[in-house]
Subunit: 427 residues, 2 copies
Amino acid sequence: MTWSKKNNSNFRTETVAGGGLLSRRNFITNAATGSAVFLPMSYAAAESFEGVPETWLTKGGEFSNYGMPPDSGQHPIRWISNHPAVPGEGVTWTPHHQLQGSITPNGLHFERHHNGVPHIEAATWELALHGKLAKPTALSLNDLHRLPMHSETLFIECGGNSNAMWRDQPIQTAAGYIHGLLSCAEWTGVKLSHVLELAGIDPDATWVIADGLDSSGVTVSIPLEKALDDVLIGLYQNGEPVRPSQGYPARLVVPGWEGITHVKWLRSIMLTDKPLMSKFDSVSYTDLMLDGKFNRFSFVMEVKSFITQPSPGYELQQKGLYEIRGLAWSGAAPITRVQVSADGGSSWTDAELQSPVLANSLTRFRVPWNWTGSPATLLSRATDSLGNIQPLRSEIINNKGGNSYYHYNGTTVWSVDEQGGVRHVYI
Amino acid sequence: MTWSKKNNSNFRTETVAGGGLLSRRNFITNAATGSAVFLPMSYAAAESFEGVPETWLTKGGEFSNYGMPPDSGQHPIRWISNHPAVPGEGVTWTPHHQLQGSITPNGLHFERHHNGVPHIEAATWELALHGKLAKPTALSLNDLHRLPMHSETLFIECGGNSNAMWRDQPIQTAAGYIHGLLSCAEWTGVKLSHVLELAGIDPDATWVIADGLDSSGVTVSIPLEKALDDVLIGLYQNGEPVRPSQGYPARLVVPGWEGITHVKWLRSIMLTDKPLMSKFDSVSYTDLMLDGKFNRFSFVMEVKSFITQPSPGYELQQKGLYEIRGLAWSGAAPITRVQVSADGGSSWTDAELQSPVLANSLTRFRVPWNWTGSPATLLSRATDSLGNIQPLRSEIINNKGGNSYYHYNGTTVWSVDEQGGVRHVYI
């Protein structure tokens, strides 16, 4: 797919930063003046349906109980990266280079499974609450359904998302296959704080150990303070029951924190006075720092952004006006600003943020851009309301060293050549 | 499915209105005191996985390019009501009695097709802009993609939704099959105002005539004032390209207005100085009033709500605490209040509204309820920020007469009997 094949845009434009970035106002007002021709007068009698293929106007397809996208080869799909010998071990990537807005449809939500999707019977499933509680108990799905529910639109990002950015050379692939272990949905469930309070929290409890029911034994330690703040026992995703591939009948939803904490096929919540130091606490999702120590329990996914369009695979077919679009998020605080540069960071302009901007959600940003046909170097940089600013890649490498595999939140740069080709580069 | 089979909740509760309605605070604080037993101490060693079926712990299912819900017979589906002789003529219903939150997943978004789903090639599709414009033109999908995009979370409700409520006797079916021609999604597209301004609007243009490409010839007249306010050329639904069943490659999205104006498979936008008075303007979606005249062009979907849980088909299996949940919306202004009654309207309590409350979106409401085992009569009543209050059914029948088929926005009442059965009643 390309953005356009017709050479029909010759707006007069007014630059507000280097490289042809415009204010959104310019895009509309300049083009609306008589001084610019928008498009050729090529069509004047559409109501006749002249030229419409007969096949478009015959009786159409029937209804279905559950709608699916077309099997046309055109609709976005998730790419799969899995272990050759263990088909259920791996990931699927959300194809952000082909999506718009901020919600990820359930069929395209990323997955990270360690040993496939277990089949769980909801009728006999229970969630155990035990450890440092006055009244250890078990809740059935029906029990959970009677309790007060809460909904929030939240991103989930794997701690290993964007790990290719730690490599010495920039990988050449689509934006969704660099940053696609990231999705956003409206999650509905019961507040973990509520069920823990009902069960009576012992005064010396400080940690929650969450166990999933898949055969790879995912067990994660989460500070009780977070559990009592905003963690959900997630039962619904974008309105419908959580699917098996997302943790049916229940998954933990831990706003703003790394994906591994969002334990799927939730089986057990145990309160303790120390972390378990499971392999997911102590080996995976830890970062080797410059001083030779490992950073554990980083949890919060830090402020980050990238440009989704244009991006590798989406070539510019003509000079003229485009809209640069991307996603920004922070697990620490709501996004307050996204700056975009078309000249490799020499100058920046503020992008428009899709409203409402929600905490721990993806924020879509957009800025108009007049591509003159010269080479351009595009990147975005996000800021959250705590003043955290997304680092340049060079800054994160300098600060953390190059030995990490997880938690990359630096910038991503796309280089546009004179033919409109887009490549991933480091600057 | 039932809400619970175990008799394990005997909270001490404090009533804030008739019929056992509680404040949300009561639900949590009362239950957390030592005076009430939450659940029996039946589970104390979950980490052993004792009793977990072997099949749950074996290697799980593999990845897929596009995720689907399970084929278990348990996952919500749309019911289909179609013409026996014309399978593509009819509707599918969103099963709101089985959903939570406010977003409708794309596979469960309602549909109303007049002659099935046409197959349209995006590569040769164009949107014609003509009539009273300085520069009539045609836009390809690539052209549209280069223009500034805008996203909003919006409900779409068919003007004929809830038409069973006009019948003399209450129909006995699930809530989703009474009110399910209603869904909510994040829509992304290009503002119609933008492309019309680029094409140069003639000073005497006052109406927009929108044509769809399906063979039933859906053509709708919309005041230019609305088109310039907030109408979108919708290209993406919950992040992914609009599916064929929802109007691919483009549909009109007309915030807060009746579904027929959201023309699917959009082909042509013509500016005129009068409405076309197509059959969809002048015959369908009009209401015969008490004075013998037809009300046309009502457009705005007025303030409305209904309770999704409990509702017919979802029986209460035991006395005790529940959460009453439902949906409220108004095409006129944001929802500011939803009142719930458990005693047929003698007393009311305010429900909690899911935040953020967005204009022209579905708003989830929730209120805790202690069911004592006595018969109860449940209903909800919504108010928007313009002060519009949802009428009781008796009020709407008195005001509009009983000859309408469209635009029912009165209350819906569920009767709970001593066995916990739930039926639809008129009061």
